[in-house]
């Protein structure tokens, strides 16, 4: 039985050692990603939560750990909520790329929402148009214990920490499908109610020691 040469043996040893350490690191990283995930309350005001599906283009943001809910209340149009944990740079793609079909695009009318006295916007509300439907979306990013931020680019250090150390950091979206007979002001208020409620829950989320942002 021919043996490997000395160099071949050291080469395979090096690759094998790196593979074992890499898979151990991947396992620990994945376990940390499963820890301290956010679970929203079963209701927001009168709205009741039901399980929802992953957004259409979730593969484009590498299918992160996420919670998806559909909130219903009487004859009101349902509110969809997606709270995804940041796992890499792809988690910060624009919502039109993962909420809609490949034709999805954000219309340019952005409405940043900045509470009085704050230095930064907490949320951004936008209309996203796809091939088959149009959505009114409210979008923000947030770490547990922190205030929501409309722009991920405001928090480069926290994002780097969350990606490198697998600390919890969430990309949140709430949206409603816009119909021709929709009452724009009512939809805006509903989404604001959801954004305030969910961001408040994330802000007060208890996390494991070492997972604080």
């Amino acid at each position: 039985m021919p043996k490997l040469s000395k160099m071949g043996f050291s080469l395979t040893k090096l690759i094998a050692a790196s593979a074992v350490i890499s898979y151990a690191a991947a396992g620990v990283g994945h376990a940390r990603n499963l820890r301290d995930n956010f679970e929203p309350n079963l209701s927001v005001g009168d709205w009741i939560a039901n399980p929802g599906e992953r957004p259409l283009g979730d593969a484009l943001r590498d299918q992160p750990e996420e919670v998806n809910r559909i909130f219903t209340y009487g004859a009101q149009p349902p509110v969809f909520v997606s709270i995804a944990r940041v796992t890499g740079a792809n988690s910060f793609r624009a919502p039109d790329s993962y909420l809609l079909d490949p034709d999805g695009q954000m219309l340019n009318d952005r409405l940043p929402i900045r509470p009085p006295g704050e230095r930064f916007s907490h949320y951004v509300m936008q209309i996203a148009q796809g091939h088959d439907n149009t959505l009114l979306v409210i979008h923000w990013v947030q770490a547990p214990g922190d205030l929501p931020h409309a722009e991920a680019s405001d928090l480069p250090r926290k994002i780097a920490k969350s990606v490198l150390l697998h600390k919890p950091f969430f990309v949140c979206d709430a949206w409603v499908q816009m119909r021709t007979d929709a009452n724009g002001a009512a939809l805006r208020n509903t989404l604001m109610q959801f954004a305030d409620s969910i961001s408040d829950q994330i802000r007060h989320q208890k996390v494991s020691p070492g997972s604080q942002p």
Binding site: L4, S5, L11, I21, G29, L60, A89, N90, S97, P102
Partner: protein, 361 residues
């Protein structure tokens, strides 16, 4: 092909017996390749290392594939990168078998081989130099390869970090670095230099970060759809284009729209054609500048072709919108054929059609 058959007829000759019996550098390369193939230790090492690499990267490869094949992904072409790289290695196997040839020719030029230099010019001189190289190879033991473990060790250290983060771009970069590291460690820097093209080509399989891919896609789609809008306007149809290029809406009572995602803008197909063109050019004997010019001309050619496809789909859709749903996917399959034919034409026009000497099927 003839070279190989000539070489095969000489398989009984031991290349180390005498230079006159070996005849050419081709036969020497053939003999060395055969010796490597028939060496059980080399075969075993190649199999073991390949299996280890497959076991190492099969899980990240799933995430790369998901990134390549997601709907309207920019990098649909990336699925062909590994097969094309392997085919390139096969076509250039004789050159890879004699990595020290360049060094030997350099030594001959500098008069360090002890052989008399023949001062003829052109191809004959090249043959002389190669023969001198073979003579040296047969007279002396080939110089030992300079093994360079730095890249391999670096990639083996980077791999756990990339796996820990779990980002497909990072794991793919580590994969390419590790392949290059294995070549540098096992075969030395000379082989790494010869294999520079396939290793660089492998970078095409690295999934682009989402923000970069989105920006490139939006730019390309905007340019293509703007061109289509101009073409349709010049054909006399009233159209309007949405803010972000897609869809194109036909006005004046004609209720027909062209959506980029619905019919496929074909950007990934265009990328495939461009990639195949670059791969082919790497084996063609021509100055680098001319090859770059061919690539630069091919980009607008493919762009125009993508726009023409959408224009014709629009013309069809104006008479019968339902047919477009059937014609659009079929036309995407014809696109690479026409694009590649055009690229071959550009290559011929710029005299990039002759293979390099060492390319052999």
């Amino acid at each position: 092909m003839n070279r190989e058959s000539t070489a095969q007829s000489n398989t009984a000759v031991d290349p180390r017996e005498s230079l006159s019996k070996v005849g050419s550098v081709w036969q020497f390369a053939y003999h060395r390749l055969n010796a490597l193939r028939n060496n059980p230790s080399v075969r075993r090492e190649a199999i073991v290392v390949t299996l280890f690499m497959v076991a190492f990267f099969w899980l990240p490869a799933l995430s790369w594939t998901r990134a390549w094949l997601s709907p309207e992904a920019l990098q649909g072409y990336a699925i062909w990168v590994v097969p094309l790289t392997l085919f390139w290695l096969y076509l250039n196997r004789f050159r890879l078998a004699v990595p020290e040839l360049d060094e030997l020719i350099k030594r001959y030029r500098e008069g360090k081989t002890g052989l008399r230099r023949n001062h003829r010019s052109g191809e004959e001189d090249r043959e002389d130099r190669e023969m001198a190289g073979v003579a040296l190879l047969l007279k002396e033991k080939p110089p030992p390869a300079t093994h360079y473990p730095g890249l391999l060790i670096g990639s083996c250290i980077a791999a756990p970090i990339a796996f820990w983060i779990g980002d497909p771009t990072l794991t793919a970069l580590v994969f390419v670095a590790m392949v290059a590291g294995i070549v540098a460690y096992r075969n030395g820097l000379v082989v790494l230099k010869i294999a520079a093209f396939p290793l660089t080509f492998l970078l095409l399989l690295v999934p682009l970060p989402g923000l970069v891919a989105d920006a490139i896609h939006a730019f390309a789609q905007d340019r293509i759809f703007s061109l289509v809008t101009h073409l349709i306007l010049n054909s006399g149809y009233p159209v309007e284009q949405a803010l972000n290029a897609s869809p194109i809406r036909f006005g004046s009572g004609i209720t027909f729209q062209i959506w980029a995602g619905a019919i496929g803008a074909g950007i990934a197909h265009g990328g495939f054609c461009l990639m195949l063109g670059i791969w082919f050019l790497s084996m063609v004997k021509a100055p680098l500048l001319r090859k770059v010019i061919v690539v630069l001309i091919s980009i607008p050619w493919i762009g125009i072709l993508l726009a023409l496809r959408i224009y014709f789909l629009a013309c069809i859709g104006l008479s019968d919108p339902d047919i477009v749903a059937y014609v659009a996917p079929v036309s995407l399959y014809f696109l690479p054929v026409i694009a590649l034919a055009g690229q071959l034409g550009i290559q011929r026009a710029l005299k990039c059609q002759n293979y390099q000497k060492w390319v052999s099927a």
